[in-house]
Symmetry: C2
Subunit: 374 residues, 2 copies
C-alpha cells in the first residue's frame, strides 16, 4: 500500500485512525470541506486550515471544465493553484456527471456529457478521470464509477454496480502508484445487501488503498442509509479507510462513524453558510429569522470560530439581511468550524471509549434548536 493508515483506538464499530498522505496527516474520522471550483466557497484557505480541516475535496467535473486540468497542471497543480498545502481528495467526476440529467449519455466505455457552463461536449472514461486527477495532483484519487440512481430494481442496481466494478479495474490499471498517493475504490449496490457484498468482493479483488461507499445520500433517507451502513461498512477491509461519499448532516456523520465510517465530504456546511443556516451545538439555526435582530449573544457560545468570538447574533443577522458577503464568509467559516469540532469530539470520544455517551449528549443538545429564550 502506498499510504499509511493506522487505527489507534476503536469504540464499538467506530475507529480512531491516522492516514498519512503526500501532503500531510489526516486524523480520522475526518470531514472534508468541499472546494468545488478550487476554492472552499467564501473562505480563504488559511481560514479553512484554522478550522482544523486537514484535507479538502476538489471536483474533477468542475475543474476539467474550468479552468481545465492541463491548465492547472501547467500552473503547478491544484495545491499550488488554490494555495492549499495539505492533502486533497479529488472525486472522479462520475457523480457530478450523473447529476446532469438529460445532458449525459452513458456507454460501456464511459460517459459523454454537456458542460453546464457553456453546453460544450466532453467525455469521461475511467482512464481520462484518473489522468485528470493525476494532473490535479490529488493525494487521494477516486475510481471512476456510475452512481446508481435511487430507487433502483435489483436488476438495475446489479447492472450499474457491475459496470462500476469493470470501471474500477480500469481505474486501478490507469493509476500510477506513488508514495503518499492513494486510489480509492467505490462500493455500489444501492440498498441490496447481496449486491453490496458482491461489489466489496470485486473491489477487494482489485485492491485499493481505501474504500468508499457510494450511491447513498441520494434520497433514501437517514434510516435507510443507516440500514445499508449496518452491513456495507463491515463488508469493506477493516485495515483500510472507509469513506462515505456526499454525507451529510451532523447526525448522519455521527451515525455513520458509529457504523465504522472514517471519512466524509458534503457541501452542506458551506452551502448553508451562504443561505443563513448555521449548525450549532443546539441544532441548526436560521440566522435570517427576525428573532436574532437584537440578540447580543454569540451564535454558539461554545464555539471558538471568528463568527462566534467576534460578533453578536444581531450582527450576523444584520449582515444576512443586508446581503453582505461577510455574512456568507462568517457563517461558512462557522459551519466548517462546527463540523471540524464535531469530528474532533468524535475522535476524542472514541479514544475514551465514550462514543455512546457523546452521541446521547449530541442528540439531546441538538434538539434544543433555535428557541431558547433571550
Amino acid at each position: 500500500m502506498t499510504i499509511g493508515f493506522e487505527i489507534s483506538a476503536t469504540d464499538g464499530k467506530a475507529r480512531r485512525g491516522r492516514m498519512s498522505l503526500a501532503h500531510g496527516v489526516v486524523d480520522t474520522p475526518a470531514f472534508m470541506p468541499v472546494g468545488t471550483a478550487a476554492t472552499v466557497k467564501a473562505m480563504r484557505p488559511e481560514s479553512v486550515a484554522e478550522t482544523g480541516a486537514q484535507i479538502l475535496l476538489g471536483n474533477t467535473y468542475h475543474l476539467m471544465l474550468r479552468p481545465g486540468a492541463e491548465r492547472i497542471a501547467e500552473l503547478g497543480g491544484l495545491h499550488r493553484f488554490m494555495n492549499w498545502d495539505k492533502p486533497i481528495l479529488t472525486d472522479s467526476g462520475g457523480y457530478q456527471v450523473y447529476s446532469l440529467a438529460g445532458r449525459r449519455k452513458l456507454d460501456a466505455d464511459g460517459v459523454t456529457f454537456q458542460s453546464h457552463i457553456d453546453g460544450s461536449r466532453h467525455r469521461l472514461t475511467p482512464e481520462r478521470s484518473i489522468e485528470i486527477q493525476h494532473l490535479l495532483g490529488a493525494d487521494i484519487t477516486m475510481a471512476f464509477d456510475e452512481c446508481t440512481p435511487f430507487p433502483a430494481t435489483h436488476d438495475q442496481a446489479a447492472g450499474s454496480m457491475r459496470l462500476s466494478m469493470r470501471w474500477a479495474g480500469r481505474s486501478r490499471a490507469a493509476f500510477a502508484d506513488r508514495d503518499g498517493h492513494a486510489l480509492f475504490g467505490i462500493q455500489q449496490g444501492s440498498t441490496f445487501e447481496d449486491l453490496r457484498a458482491e461489489s466489496a468482493e470485486a473491489l477487494r479483488g482489485i485492491g485499493f488503498d481505501g474504500y468508499a461507499i457510494g450511491g447513498l445520500a441520494v434520497g433514501e433517507g437517514q434510516e435507510m442509509m443507516f440500514g445499508v451502513l449496518n452491513y456495507a461498512a463491515d463488508q469493506l477491509p477493516a485495515d483500510r479507510p472507509r469513506y462515505l461519499m456526499g454525507v451529510g448532516k451532523p447526525s448522519d456523520l455521527l451515525g455513520a462513524v458509529m457504523r465504522g465510517v472514517d471519512m466524509f465530504d458534503c457541501v452542506l456546511p458551506t452551502r448553508s453558510g451562504r443561505t443563513a443556516q448555521a449548525f450549532t451545538r443546539r441544532g441548526t439555526v436560521n440566522m435570517r429569522n427576525a428573532r436574532h435582530g437584537a440578540d447580543s449573544r454569540p451564535l454558539d457560545a461554545d464555539c471558538a470560530c471568528p463568527a462566534c468570538t467576534g460578533y453578536s447574533r444581531a450582527y450576523l443577522h444584520h449582515l444576512i439581511r443586508s446581503d453582505e458577503i461577510l455574512g456568507a464568509m462568517l457563517l461558512t467559516g462557522h459551519n466548517v468550524w462546527y463540523y471540524q469540532d464535531l469530528m474532533a469530539g468524535m475522535r476524542a470520544a472514541i479514544e475514551a471509549r465514550g462514543l455512546e455517551a457523546f452521541a446521547a449528549t449530541f442528540h439531546e443538545t441538538q434538539a434544543l434548536g433555535d428557541i431558547e429564550p433571550l
Copy 2:
C-alpha cells in the same frame, strides 16, 4: 480642541500628520476604507487592519435605516457591533440622502426622504444626524450639510452653501464634546472661489476639530477638482486635518495630498474588488480579461497582500470567471492594501521631502497598465 493633530513634516503643501482619536492614532495622509453597512464589503475586520488601515468610514444613512442607530447603541456601539476597535468616522447622511434623487424633500430645517430598502419615510436634521453619530459612537462626527449639485450657478451654490453653514452651526451646538471625539465641518461653495472662502470663514467662526472639503468628486472631473483644491485647502485652518470627501482614484489622492489634503474616503477600492478591477503599481487591471487565464505571475509582484503572495493571476482570473466569493474577497483585500501602501508611500515621501519624485515615478509606472508581455 478635543483631538490632537500634529504635523511632523511638510513637503510643498503636503503634510505628514498624526491624529489622536479615542480609539487610536491615525497617520496622515490617510485613506479610510468605507464600511457602509457596518462592514467593509467582502473583508473581515482583521484583514482590513492587516492592510494598514487605521480608520474606517461608516454611513449614517445606511445604519439608521438598518439595523437602526438605537439598535447599534443598545448592542454597544458601532465599534463593538462590527468588531473594529480602531477609529471610525461617520458621515452625516447628507450626501447619501442627496443621492436619493426624486425621493427626498429639502426644507430649511432638514430633509425628509424615503428609504431605498422599503420605501419608509425618514427625516434627518442637523440635530438628528449628530444624535445618530453619537449613538454609533463615532470618533469623528461630520456636520450635517447639503451636497451642492454640480453644475450649479453662483446663486444656487451660494444658497446651498449658506444653508449648510447654518446647519454647521446647529451641528456644532448639538455635538457633545468628549476627549478623543471630533466634529468636522464641511466646506461647500461648488467651484466658486469666493463662496469657498465665505464657507471656510463661516466654519472657522463656528470652530471645528477638522475641516472637510465637500461638494467635489460629483462629476466635475479631476482637472476642475484640482483647480478648486488649489485654493480650497489653503482657505482651511493649517493646524487642523483636512478631509476631501468621497475621493478617489489613486492619482486623485496623490494630487490632493500635494495640495494639502490629509484624509480621504472612497468606495472605489472595495467596489472595484467586486467587479474584477485591481489597482496595482502598473495601473488598473481588469482581472476578467482572458489574457490572465494562464498567467502564473502574481497580480502585483511588489505587493505583500494575501492575493499577491498566495496566488497567480490565473487563479484570480479563474475565481472571477467562476463568480466565486473568494475572488471578491482577494481583490478587495488587494485594492485596500494597495491604497494603504500608496498612502504609506506618500507619508514616507513627505518625510523625505521627496514627494515630487514619488509623483513622477507614480505617473510613469501607472501608465504601464495591463499590457506588459508575459
